[in-house]
C-alpha cells in the first residue's frame, strides 16, 4: 500500500472521529441530525476508499448502503418524525458541553493506547483503523449517556454502529453477509425506536426520557 493511500484512509477515519466530536456538542436536534448525515457520508467515503485500496468490490455495496440508508433515509425520516411530533428541539445535556468534550478527548486517547498496545502484530492501516473505530464507538456511547432526549440517544446508537462498520471494513476479509445483517439490524433498531418514540410522545407529550422516569416514580 502506498503512503498516499494510507494517508487518505487515515484522513477519512480521522474525519469520522471529528464528526463524532461535532455531534458531541450539538444542542439542537436538526443540527445533530445534519451532523449525523455528515458522519454517515464520511463513513461511506471511507468504506469506498477501503474498497478501492483492498480491491474488494463487495465493500462498494457496504458504502452504498451506508450512503443511502444512513446518510439519506434515516436522517430524513428522523427530520420528519421531529416535525410531525413537534418535538422540543433543544437537547438537554446531563453534563456540560466542555466537560463532555474533555471526556471525549480522554476516550480517544484511551482507545489509541489500548489498540496500539494490543495489536502490535497487525498491519499499520488496520491498527489505525481499529483505534479510530474504537474511538467512534466510545464517543457514540458517550453521546447516548450524556443526553436526556430519546432522539439523540438513537443518533448516538447509530453513530456507534458506524464505528463498528469502520472497524469491520478495516479488517480485511469480512464477508458481505455480516455487513448486511449489521445494516439491517440497525434499520430494525431504527424502526423499533421510531415506534417507541411515537408511543412515548403519545403518552407524555415529550420525548424527554425523564418523563418515563417520573412516570415510574423514579427517585432523583
Amino acid at each position: 500500500m502506498s503512503s498516499l493511500q494510507f494517508d487518505i484512509a487515515h484522513l477519512f477515519a480521522g474525519s469520522l472521529v471529528l464528526a463524532s466530536f461535532m455531534m458531541l456538542y450539538q444542542d439542537r436536534l436538526y443540527a445533530l441530525l445534519n451532523v449525523y448525515a455528515l458522519h454517515a457520508g464520511v463513513l461511506a467515503l471511507s468504506v469506498a476508499w477501503q474498497a478501492y485500496v483492498q480491491q474488494a468490490p463487495h465493500l462498494y455495496v457496504t458504502a452504498l448502503i451506508a450512503l443511502v440508508f444512513k446518510a439519506i433515509i434515516i436522517p430524513v425520516a428522523l427530520h420528519r418524525i421531529i416535525k410531525r411530533l413537534g418535538i422540543h428541539r433543544e437537547i438537554e445535556n446531563v453534563i456540560g458541553v466542555g466537560l463532555t468534550m474533555m471526556a471525549g478527548i480522554g476516550l480517544v486517547a484511551l482507545s489509541m493506547v489500548v489498540m496500539l498496545r494490543v495489536t502490535p502484530g497487525a498491519d499499520a492501516l488496520a491498527r489505525e483503523d481499529l483505534a479510530f473505530a474504537l474511538s467512534v464507538v466510545l464517543l457514540g456511547l458517550l453521546i447516548m449517556v450524556t443526553r436526556r432526549n430519546a432522539v439523540s440517544q438513537v443518533v448516538g446508537f447509530m453513530s456507534l454502529e458506524n464505528g463498528l462498520v469502520l472497524a469491520a471494513t478495516g479488517a480485511k476479509g469480512m464477508p458481505l453477509v455480516v455487513e448486511i445483517s449489521v445494516a439491517f439490524s440497525v434499520l430494525i433498531a431504527f424502526i423499533v425506536i421510531g415506534i417507541f418514540l411515537f408511543r412515548i410522545r403519545e403518552r407524555f407529550d415529550s420525548v424527554d426520557v425523564q418523563a418515563l422516569d417520573r412516570f415510574r416514580g423514579e427517585r432523583r
Binding site: V94, L107, L110, S111, V113, V114, R117, V118, L138, L141, L142, M144, V145, R147, R148, Q153, V209, L212, D213, R216, E218
Partner: protein, 666 residues
C-alpha cells in the same frame, strides 16, 4: 465389567422418563421399582465380583458425551467397586422396600421419575473419571433428591427444607468446582492427568480443604449439617433411607477420591482439620438426635453422628499416612470404609422401619406411638436389630467398625507430631461419648415407639406392614448380623481399596482360628464376633428358657399400676422427653441453650398447668442467621440496581467498559 455397569446406569436413566408414564397407570410403581431393583442388582453383582475377583484390574471407558474435547471418562477400580456395592445394595433394598411402600404414595408422579435418575446419578458419581462428569452427576444427584424432598410440597416445612437443601447443595458443588479448578490448573479435568500432575503444596492444601467443605456439606459435617435433618426426613421414607444411608456415602467417596487418590502425599495438618471437624460432628450429631421427638429426624441426626465417625477414621488414616505409618493408616482407613458399609445397612434399615411405622400409623412423633411391638412384631424385630447395630453393640456390625476406629486411636502415641498426639485422644473421648449417647438415643427410640402402651388411637390400631417392605428390612437386618459375626470376610474384601488409597493393607483375616479379627497383630488385641454371637445366643436362650420354665405359667394380664391415679391415661407413661431429660440438663443447657418452662395457672383457675421445653440450635442462630442477615442486607442495597433508567444502565455499561479498557491499557 464396566460395560455392564454403564449399561445398567443407562437402563436406570431410561426408566426416569418412563416414570412419568408409569406414574399414571395402576401397576406403574411396581414396574418401575421392579426395574430399578433389577438394574441395581446387576450393578451390585458386577461391582461385587470386580471387588472380590479382579480387584487390581482398573477398567476404564470413554464415552463421546459431555465436553467435546474431553468426553466422559469412566473408571472402575477397587474404590469405585466398593462404593458401587454400597450404593447399589442400598438401591436394591430401597427398591424392594418401595415395591410395597410405594403403593401408599399419594403423588407418585412427583417421586417415580426422579427415583431411577437419582440412583443413576449416584452411580455415575462413583464411576466418573473426569471432573466434568463428576460434577454434573453430583449436581444431578442433588437436584433429583431435592425434587423428591419437595414431593410433598403442600407442607410448608418441606418447602423450607427443600430451599435450605438447594442452597447448601449449591454451596457444596461450588467448593468442589473450585477444588477441581485448582487441581486442573496444571493438568486438565481428566482424573488421570490430575493424578500425574505435581501441584504445589499450598495448592493441594487449599484443594483438600475445599474438598472437605464440598463433600462435608453433602455428608452433613457440623457446622454444614443444617440442611440434613430438614431434608432427609421430608422425602418419602425409601428415599430418606437412600439419602441418609447412601448419598452421604457418595459424599464420603468424593472426599476419599480427591484427598486420598487425586492429591499427592497428604500433609499432617489436613488430618488435624478433618479430626477437629469429625470428632465434634459425631458428638453433636447424636446430642441433637437425643433431643428430637420425630423418629425420622432422630435418624437424620444420627446420620450426622456416623458421618463424624467415618470422617474421624479418614482423618486418622490421613495422619498416619502423612507420618509414614501406613500399616496403621490401613487400619484406620479400613475401619472408616467398613463403617461406610455398615452405616449404609443399618441406617437404610432404620429409615425403612420408620417408613413402615409411618405407613401403619401416620405418625412420626414418638410421643404418639408406643406398643408397636405387639402390632408390628416383624418390623419390631428388624428395627431392634438396626438399633442394636447402630448403637455399636456386639455381635452386630456397628461394633466392629467403631472398635477398629478405636484401635487406630489407641495407636496415636506412635505419631511424632505433638499436636496430633494431643488431639487424637480428645477426639477418641468424643467418639466414646458419642457411642454412649447413640445407645441412649436408640434405647429411647425403640423403647418409646415400640414398647409400652400406645399413646394414640393411630398407634393402637396399627397393623403389620406388607411383605416386600418386611423382606427388605429383614434382608438388611441379616446383613447386619453377618457383617457383625464374620467381619474378617469384609475386611479382606476391603484390602485392595486400602492398598490403592493408603498403600498398605490390614493383616489377612480369613483363615485365622475361630474367625477372629486382629487389627495389627495377634499379640495386641483381637475380636471374635462369632464367639460373642454364640455366647449371646446361648445366654439369651438359657435365660429365655429358664424364664419360660419358671414364669410362663404364672403370667397374668392385669391393668398396669396407675400410681394411684384413677384414670390411667397412656400419656402418663415415661415419654421421649422424659428419657432425654438428664442428658438435656447436663449437656443441652450449654449446647442448645435448653430451658424448661413450667407454667402454673393462678390458684382457683381451671386451666391446666403447662410444661414446655425450649431448644435453640446455636449453630443455626449464631452462624447461619447472621449470614442470612448480611446477605439480606446486601441484596436490599443492590436491589436498587433493578430500578434504574435506561440512561443509567447505559452509563453503568459504559463505565464498566472504560474501566476494563483502562485495565488493558495500563
Amino acid at each position: 465389567m464396566i460395560a455392564v455397569a454403564l449399561w445398567s446406569v443407562a437402563v436406570l436413566l431410561a426408566l426416569a422418563p418412563a416414570g412419568v408414564v408409569l406414574s399414571t397407570v395402576p401397576r406403574g410403581p411396581i414396574i418401575l421399582y421392579g426395574g430399578c431393583l433389577m438394574a441395581t442388582s446387576a450393578l451390585c453383582v458386577t461391582a461385587l465380583s470386580d471387588l472380590l475377583y479382579v480387584p487390581h484390574l482398573t477398567q476404564s471407558a470413554i464415552l463421546p458425551i459431555g465436553l467435546p474435547w474431553l468426553g466422559a471418562h469412566f473408571r472402575l477400580d477397587a474404590l469405585s467397586a466398593f462404593f458401587l456395592v454400597v450404593v447399589n445394595l442400598g438401591g436394591v433394598a430401597a427398591s424392594l422396600f418401595a415395591l410395597g411402600y410405594g403403593r401408599h404414595e399419594e403423588s407418585p408422579g412427583r417421586v417415580l421419575p426422579f427415583y431411577p435418575a437419582y440412583l443413576a446419578a449416584m452411580n455415575v458419581v462413583v464411576l466418573a473419571n473426569d471432573a466434568f462428569s463428576f460434577l454434573v452427576a453430583w449436581e444431578f444427584m442433588s437436584l433429583t433428591s431435592w425434587a423428591m424432598v419437595v414431593s410433598h410440597h403442600r407442607e410448608a416445612e418441606n418447602v423450607r427444607a427443600g430451599y435450605v437443601y438447594l442452597l447448601m447443595a449449591s454451596f457444596g458443588t461450588l467448593t468442589l468446582l473450585l477444588a477441581f479448578g485448582l487441581l486442573a490448573s496444571g493438568a486438565g479435568y481428566d482424573f488421570d492427568a490430575i493424578r500425574a500432575s505435581h501441584p504445589s503444596a499450598a495448592l493441594t492444601g487449599m484443594a483438600a480443604i475445599l474438598a472437605l467443605l464440598g463433600a462435608g456439606s453433602k455428608a452433613g459435617l457440623v457446622p454444614l449439617h443444617a440442611w440434613l435433618p430438614l431434608a432427609h426426613p421430608a422425602a418419602p421414607s425409601h428415599v430418606s433411607g437412600l439419602m441418609s444411608g447412601v448419598m452421604t456415602k457418595v459424599a464420603v467417596y468424593g472426599f476419599v477420591r480427591i484427598v486420598f487418590d487425586l492429591l499427592p502425599e497428604p500433609m499432617w495438618w489436613w488430618s488435624m482439620v478433618v479430626l477437629l471437624v469429625g470428632g465434634p460432628t459425631s458428638t453433636l450429631g447424636v446430642l441433637y438426635a437425643l433431643m428430637q421427638r420425630d423418629i425420622k429426624r432422630v435418624l437424620a441426626y444420627s446420620t450426622i453422628e456416623n458421618i463424624g465417625i467415618i470422617f474421624t477414621g479418614l482423618g486418622l488414616a490421613l495422619a498416619f499416612k502423612a507420618e509414614g505409618l501406613d500399616w496403621v493408616a490401613a487400619l484406620a482407613f479400613t475401619a472408616a470404609m467398613l463403617h461406610v458399609f455398615n452405616h449404609a445397612l443399618f441406617k437404610s434399615l432404620l429409615f425403612f422401619g420408620a417408613g413402615a411405622v409411618l405407613g401403619a400409623t401416620g405418625e412420626r412423633d414418638m410421643e404418639k406411638l408406643g406398643g408397636l411391638i405387639h402390632r408390628m412384631p416383624k418390623t419390631a424385630v428388624a428395627v431392634l436389630v438396626g438399633c442394636v447395630a447402630i448403637s455399636a453393640l456386639p455381635p452386630f456390625n456397628g461394633f466392629v467398625s467403631e472398635w477398629l476406629t478405636f484401635q487406630a486411636i489407641l495407636l496415636s502415641p506412635q505419631l511424632s507430631s505433638w499436636g496430633l498426639k494431643l488431639v487424637i485422644p480428645a477426639v477418641g473421648g468424643l467418639l466414646a461419648l458419642a457411642a454412649a449417647f447413640a445407645a441412649a438415643c436408640f434405647v429411647k427410640l425403640y423403647g418409646v415407639s415400640f414398647l409400652g402402651r400406645p399413646r394414640s388411637d393411630a398407634a393402637a390400631s396399627a397393623h403389620e406392614t406388607d411383605r416386600f417392605s418386611l423382606s427388605a428390612m429383614l434382608m438388611l437386618a441379616a446383613f447386619c448380623l453377618v457383617a457383625g459375626i464374620l467381619p474378617g470376610l469384609f475386611i479382606d474384601a476391603l484390602a485392595p481399596v486400602s492398598k490403592n488409597m493408603v498403600g498398605n493393607v490390614m493383616p489377612h483375616q480369613v483363615g485365622l482360628q475361630w474367625l477372629t479379627i486382629v487389627p495389627i497383630a495377634k499379640s495386641r488385641s483381637s475380636y471374635n464376633g462369632l464367639l460373642v454371637f454364640v455366647f449371646v445366643a446361648l445366654c439369651g436362650t438359657a435365660a429365655a428358657s429358664a424364664i419360660h420354665r419358671f414364669a410362663s405359667d404364672r403370667l397374668r394380664r392385669a391393668p398396669a399400676w396407675d400410681c394411684g391415679y384413677p384414670d390411667p391415661n397412656p400419656t402418663i407413661q415415661y415419654s421421649a422427653s422424659s428419657f432425654s431429660q438428664p442428658i438435656r440438663r447436663v449437656f443441652g443447657s450449654v449446647i442448645f441453650a435448653a430451658r424448661e418452662i413450667g407454667e402454673m395457672p393462678p390458684p382457683s383457675s381451671p386451666l391446666p398447668a403447662r410444661f414446655r421445653i425450649e431448644l435453640r440450635d446455636l449453630i443455626w442462630d449464631e452462624l447461619y442467621a447472621p449470614i442470612a442477615i448480611v446477605i439480606g442486607f446486601a441484596t436490599e442495597r443492590i436491589n436498587i440496581l433493578q430500578f434504574l433508567s435506561i440512561r443509567r444502565y447505559l452509563t453503568l455499561v459504559f463505565v464498566a467498559l472504560i474501566v476494563l479498557l483502562l485495565v488493558v491499557a495500563l
